[in-house]
Amino acid sequence: MSAPSRSTVPPAGPVRSFDFPSVSRGALDNGLRIRSVQVPRLPVVTAMMVLDAGEGLLEGAQAGLAVQTGDCLEGGTAKRTGIELAEALESIGAGLSVGTGWDSTTVSLSCMADRLDEAMGLLSEVLLQPSFPEDEVERIRGQRLAAIRQRDMDPAGVATLASRRLTYAEGVPYGRPLSGTVESVGPFTPDSAWGFLEARYRPGGSGFVVVGDVDAGQVRALAETHFGDWIGAVAPRPEIAAEPRTRERGIVVVPRTDAVQSEIRIGHIGQPRSTPHYFPLRVLNTVLGGAFTSRLNLNLREENGFTYGVRSRFLLRTGAGPWSVSAAVGTDVTADAVREALSEITTLVAEGPTEEEVSAARDYLAGVFPLQLETTGQIASQIAELLIYDLPDNYYSDYRDRIRSVTLDEAHEAARSCIRPDEMTVLVSGDADEIKGPLEELDWAAVTVEAES
């Protein structure tokens, strides 16, 4: 090999093929769907129960019920106290991890492959025979109420919650905090947990995903042993009608005395997971604010130094989740940062991305796909998404081809369909006295200052 000049970018070598790992599929007689992937690289396994038990199912008065029920699983089982359960799990190197979102609750653990049988036994105990002792439920409720207090004093959290509240009409679940409020969590008792468990922790509608150094036959046998006696099915998840609070432009300031930065959120209602624009939208959002070299970040950070970083996200759920551009910026440059962000968004929708940008975004998204599948936990999470959103089994086999086939026109169409600059709400949490005037001078929309909480 001769040494080329340093001045030219080195050419890529021959591409090595990558296929999404082969997924074995099956189901138990009780309806529990089983998905497993054998990854023999390291002696570790991730097991994940995916329950159709998200917060999106709940009325506002019950907000936080799914989260609380998941948290209370650590309180113990019919056979063990909470402390004994923790000791049993941790003595085999396994930590129980419960994740509750709008569309699901996942209960998972990772362990060394030779401890899988014991780990599955414990996972089964936790899910099928929890005990929800009054004393532990009370403790975990108290921890949650304190966490809500923390959440409501976290600058970024406050801004995000205010933005959600301003995005959705009254009564739409996505407008409220995922883990609920003091009022909705306050009345939580063991009976609340039992009620939710009875309704939503059922094999019919759930999925069990096991990824790692274990073969499909073993997984099947272990699932039969530990989850074969589980019975019942969940009622179908209802649709969520995600109505907006307003279709008018607006700038809302949430005052935070002495804030040294302003938290900015710009957006409106986005798209559901089932959006027909899924692949073009991934590409379009990468151009706008999904990567480091996106338009927003190059402008607000690398050109102007207004912020440590700015992102645009479409959160895709059963119903239409929010689209939100977020950044923390210096107080003195708040209005400048808002102006630049609005300008980038508006220009992208009006003129569309360039061919070069679309090409770079496609290459980025197709290229990073294998990087997002390095670990057993990552693979399990991706398969869980197929189960939660009823996506086809071959979804990931086609994923990179579908990203690569997105055209310039499709990306621009995604921008016009999914981003409506005249309906955006700009939320700024910060020092109201300093930022209100400059925001008004933008002359983009009326500026409302909320009462200090």
Binding site: P43, A86, E90, S110, G142, A146
Partner: protein, 433 residues
């Protein structure tokens, strides 16, 4: 007893002093490229705090053959991820890319190791100073408890010690940084003989060796690395109980306690690590069991041992109380649990090792993290293979080792206590919704 790790590692040294590790794993067509430079906040002189981190930002502003933003553009277009972090003892830079882009990552890393300075301008420095000041505001100044590290490091390490100041540094020092500082720092520390390069993942061995020599081989060796500023030597213990009480706009009271512990490079560190895990790792840990589950004094608890190498590391524990909680009571409970570590059981040690084992295996599932660990063991211990035996050292710790460690290091002659209380006049109010 835990399973042996057997991560393959081949080590080479280039003529210019660059240490190179290759760790092959063909299971996914991706490759991690990782560089550890032996420079961090401990190398900063008075008036220059935060500079190592600001410099890390400047490393992304281009080099002689790579215009500004091009590094990010090329890696992202290649379908890769990249970042860098600055810490007390080191600064690391890393890319994970599809395997066929290995040379791109090597070229980019070598260009900024060898040819960074021609691309530096005042405009770029001004821009990144603004970015870093906003980073400090976002992650520290605008966060409840965001200044804890400044307080704790100030109490645990004397003013003359390189760990006395934080990695992010002070606003004044960041603002005062000049292009001359950039040039001097680069020429002093960003030299091949102060760096470790690790390539991990799916690549051809011979090809990688040729590419590494091609891109890094021509970079001149630098001078010897200057001794650390200040005085890294210090007493093994603080010499008393020091305390600070901070009234702040925080949602909940919090008590943090820190102790000097032996450096990572000292054999006794492993007893400290086990003690830290028994104390605070997992839901069966002593702090969670006692303060959260039983006494209900704390909403959350944490413990962490800082694996530092200059003079002393640090064991940090904290507990966040409830709105009307009594910080003195929380402190008393923390002290009781820390001192109670003088007697730990074999079962507790076994659990700590088992949790660490699963955590380590999950970490090395990613080639980028695996490469980072290999670089770390090379940089800190001159022994990258140490990754494969790390669990054995932890597993060899006995209850007696922990007891000896606790007796020497976790008493009231070696304790820093930082208490956050709610600002007066801001007594707990009902939370708004």
């Amino acid at each position: 007893m835990s399973a042996m790790l057997s991560i393959p590692i081949e080590r080479f040294t280039l003529d210019n002093g660059l240490r190179v590790n290759l760790s092959h794993d063909p299971s996914t067509p991706v490759v991690g490229v990782n560089l550890w430079y032996g420079v961090g906040s401990r190398n900063e002189r008075e008036g220059k705090t935060g500079f190592a981190h600001l410099f890390e930002h400047m490393m992304f502003q281009g080099s002689e053959h790579v215009p500004k933003n091009r590094h990010f553009e090329l890696i992202e277009k290649a379908g890769g991820s990249l970042n860098a972090t600055t810490w007390f003892d080191r600064t690391n830079y890393f890319e994970t890319v599809p395997s066929h882009h290995l040379e791109l990552a090597l070229w980019l890393e070598s260009d900024r190791m060898g040819w960074m300075l021609p691309a530096m301008t005042q405009e770029k420095l001004d821009n990144q100073r603004d970015v870093v000041m906003n980073e400090k505001r976002q992650r520290h100044d605008n966060q409840p408890y965001g200044d804890w590290d400044e307080w704790i490091q100030g109490m645990v390490y004397p003013a003359s010690h390189p760990y006395h100041h934080t990695v992010i540094g002070s606003m004044e020092d960041i603002e005062a940084a000049t292009l001359d500082d950039v040039a001097e720092f680069f020429q002093t520390y960003y030299v091949p003989n102060n760096a470790v390069l690790t390539v991990c993942g799916d690549f051809g061995r011979e090809e990688a060796l040729v590419l590494i020599e091609r891109h890094f081989g021509g970079i001149a060796r630098g001078g010897d690395i200057p001794v650390l500023p200040g005085d890294p030597n210090l007493d093994p213990v603080i010499g008393g109980t020091v305390r600070e009480r901070v009234e702040a706009d925080v949602p909940l009271p919090r008590v943090l306690m820190a102790y000097r512990v032996p450096p990572y490079t000292h054999a006794e560190f492993y007893a400290a690590d086990i003690a830290g895990s028994v104390l605070g790792s997992g839901r069966a840990s002593r702090l969670y069991r006692s303060l959260v589950r039983e006494q209900r004094l704390a909403k959350d608890v944490t413990s962490f041992v800082f694996p530092l190498t200059s003079g002393a590391g640090m064991l940090l524990v904290w507990a966040t109380g409830f709105p009307d909680g009594d910080p003195d009571e929380i402190e008393g409970a923390l002290v009781a649990e820390v001192e109670g570590l003088a007697s730990v059981t074999d079962q507790e040690i076994q659990r700590a090792v088992a949790l660490t084992e699963t955590g380590l295996i999950r970490q090395i599932e990613r080639v980028g993290d695996r490469a980072d660990l290999v670089s770390m063991f090379d940089q800190l211990f001159d022994d990258p293979e140490r990754l494969n035996s790390e669990l054995e050292r932890l597993g060899a710790v006995t209850p007696e080792d922990v007891s000896t460690f606790v007796g020497r290091f976790l008493g009231d002659d070696n304790r820093a206590v930082l208490t956050y209380v709610l600002e007066t006049g801001k007594s707990p109010a009902p939370v708004t919704t």
